[in-house]
């Protein structure tokens, strides 16, 4: 599903450049649930941004579902993001003047799905994350966990190939974190490919595979026995 070869990325910080990714080789099959771990500064967010086409790599190859991702125009990148990827952010990033339903419907809107169909579909996804009754509420009226569930519904709405989660539990207490991870596991059970960036051990062990990043290189890549989040909820 995802394949990257010898990926390099550096940032220009004034006069000196910071080499963040120093040759990453990585492959993820369909249906995998991968945790990307590492301390801050290890390059994990940069990697996720490149995977998410929010940022470009300096060199290396990136293939997503058989499509080479290279030299994309902004318009093309937007199109690919919409079609291939769903984002889940640490700070939820809901649009605060739109209701939960409208937030979930946004990616469908950008796809040009007609209004009625869009709302029906968005409502289905809200139901799946258990927030159907909250459809008309604004993000400011929701709790952190609820916000993240709306964000997950939004990421799912466009039926992307891969879900990218950047510290999805970073702003949540542990109970809520496990609820969110439970939801992510269930989505993965249905066959969706998910990449989770985290620095929390327990969250990482709720995935099926852990990739350790240190100083811009992968130092460890192991399969783990998944801990189900259900038992903590």
């Amino acid at each position: 599903m995802i394949e990257i070869k010898d990926l390099h990325k550096s940032y220009q910080m004034g006069s000196n450049s910071l080499h963040v990714l120093k040759g990453i080789n990585f492959k993820a099959e369909a249906g995998e649930l991968v945790a990307i771990m590492g301390s801050s500064g290890s390059g994990k967010s940069t990697l996720l941004n490149i995977l998410g086409m929010l940022d470009g790599a300096d060199s290396g190859e990136y293939t997503l579902d058989g499509v080479p991702i290279k030299d994309l125009s902004e318009t093309k990148a937007a199109q690919y993001r919409n079609k291939f990827l769903g984002f889940i952010f640490q700070s939820f990033n809901l649009i605060n003047y739109k209701s939960a339903l409208e937030n979930v419907a946004l990616p469908l809107y950008y796809q040009g799905v007609p209004r009625k169909e869009r709302q029906e579909k968005a409502l289905q996804y809200l139901e799946r994350v258990g927030l159907k009754e909250w459809a008309t509420h604004l993000p400011s009226e929701l709790s952190g966990g609820q916000k993240q569930r709306v964000a997950i519904a939004r990421a799912m709405a466009a039926e992307p190939k891969v879900l990218l989660a950047d510290e999805p539990t970073g702003a949540l207490d542990s109970t809520t974190s496990y609820e969110v991870m439970d939801l992510i596991q269930k989505i993965n059970d249905e066959g969706n490919t998910i990449l989770v960036v985290t620095h929390e051990e327990d969250i990482a062990h709720m995935c099926k595979r852990i990739v350790h990043l240190k100083d811009g290189v992968i130092v460890e890549d192991k399969k783990v026995n998944q801990v189900r989040a259900e038992q903590y909820v």
Partner: protein, 419 residues
């Protein structure tokens, strides 16, 4: 373009900070208000001045004879001469595009003595010997009876059309003038009609105190023979009399043995030139109004552009999210542009409405206090309003252009990082 969600978003964005929006809108509103009011004031002045020209055909010149100032072909200088009736045909034959060439003779004038008598009443009036065409050059409305016709000319009938003012002087109130006789310098004329003229300048009263009789009867009754006092010459629309003028005068010089370079022997008044001068004055006035209005408008536009930049800045993160969700840059750009155009158009229309109300107010004020000198019916045409709307549309686009570009220049990753 007209998707409901887009419009909802526009309204939401503009109403999140209502006062800011209103103050921004005020700049544009004020600019267009100034533009509309200035143009209307210019139009009012123009209407007022043009009314002084009355209904006179403006593509017209008047021509008369003076004494020569140069000796020519054995004739001395200082010689006086008269136009003759067959000069009319000569002008028509030799100069193209002549619409009317009317020979005229005249009695009376400034401080003329009491030349018209009816019973025990007398009056001093201008009496013109004219051809029927004169009514097209110096329009008047015939209020009763009829104007002169060619039968009158051919048969040299002693008939007369009198002005409303003449009628008021010589007749009792309510008395019918038609079918009565008035005595002009001892000759009886049969009144066949009355007229009224529509100019408002100082001559207004004078213009109602004129008497028109057939040219031929005038010549016979007052011993003018073949002589023509002066001529009123109108060219066809599309060719200006100012250009034909030289031609006409040359024909006259030749026929009356006047030196070709004698500038003073034939006098004329070119109404068209005067009219053009006024026209170009108002053209310039309109230009000034446009420049001032657009300059004021421009500062309003800059205000809109400024606010849109701030709005974009405030929404950087939101724009980042939307791009991460797959909104195309052009769609974001369109959103910003539409917000800008919408804001400009709404505030501009408010300005137009206020401007129209003020113009309406001035009009009703003018109606209630009666006519004011040189100012009449200030107004803006539909063309000006739609022109103003086009300007607004374009300026809204212009105002939104820089903010819209800055909105999509921020890369989604940077936008998301903004907290």
């Amino acid at each position: 373009m007209f998707s409901r969600d887009r419009w909802r978003e526009i309204i939401e964005v503009l109403t999140t900070n209502v006062w800011r929006t209103i103050f921004t809108a005020f700049g544009v509103c004020w600019g267009i208000f100034i533009l509309i009011v200035l143009l209307a004031a210019g139009k009012g002045l123009e209407n007022g001045i043009k009314k002084d020209f009355g209904d006179i055909a403006t593509n017209t010149m008047f021509m008369w004879t003076r004494s020569t100032t140069k000796a020519y072909e054995g004739l001395p200088k200082g010689r006086s001469f008269e136009f003759k009736i067959n000069d009319v045909q000569a002008i028509k034959d030799n100069v193209p595009n002549m619409r009317f060439v009317s020979p005229r003779n005249q009695l009376g004038g400034f401080r003329g003595g009491g030349n018209v008598v009816r019973g025990i009443r007398t009056g001093a009036y201008n009496v013109y010997g004219d051809y029927p065409e004169i009514i097209n050059q110096d329009p008047m409305s015939v209020t009763s009876g009829r104007f002169l016709n060619y039968n009158d000319i051919r048969e040299k009938r002693k008939v007369a059309i009198i002005g409303q003012g003449v009628k008021n002087d010589l007749y009792e109130k309510g008395e019918d003038a038609l079918g009565t006789y008035i005595k002009i310098q001892g000759v009886n004329f049969f009144v066949i009609g009355t007229y009224k003229k529509n100019n408002s300048d100082g001559d207004g009263e004078e213009a109602q105190k004129e008497i028109y009789v057939p040219f031929t009867s005038f010549s016979q009754a007052f011993n003018r023979g073949e002589d023509v006092g002066w001529m009123a010459i109108t060219a066809h629309d599309g060719s200006s009399i100012s250009q034909l003028k030289e031609n006409i005068i040359n024909v006259m010089r030749e026929r009356h043995k006047v030196h070709p370079e004698d500038k003073r022997a034939i006098g004329y008044f070119d109404l068209y030139e005067q009219y053009n001068r006024v026209e170009s004055l108002f053209g310039a006035l309109k230009g000034v109004a446009y420049i001032v209005g657009i300059m004021v408008l421009l500062s309003g536009i800059i205000g809109v552009s400024n606010i849109m930049l701030i709005v974009v800045k405030e929404r950087t993160k939101e724009i980042g999210i939307r791009r991460a969700l797959g909104e195309k840059p052009w769609s974001i750009k369109k959103q910003i542009l539409m917000e800008s155009i919408f804001l400009t158009l709404i505030s501009g229309m408010t300005g137009i409405i206020f401007g129209s109300l003020v113009i309406y107010g001035i009009n009703s004020l003018l109606d209630s206090v009666g006519p004011v000198d040189m100012f009449l019916n200030p107004s803006v045409s539909v063309g000006v309003v739609s022109g103003a709307l086009t300007i607004l549309m374009a300026s809204g686009l212009l105002a939104g252009f820089i903010p819209a570009n800055s909105a999509i220049r921020v890369r989604p990753i940077e936008a998301l990082r903004t907290e």
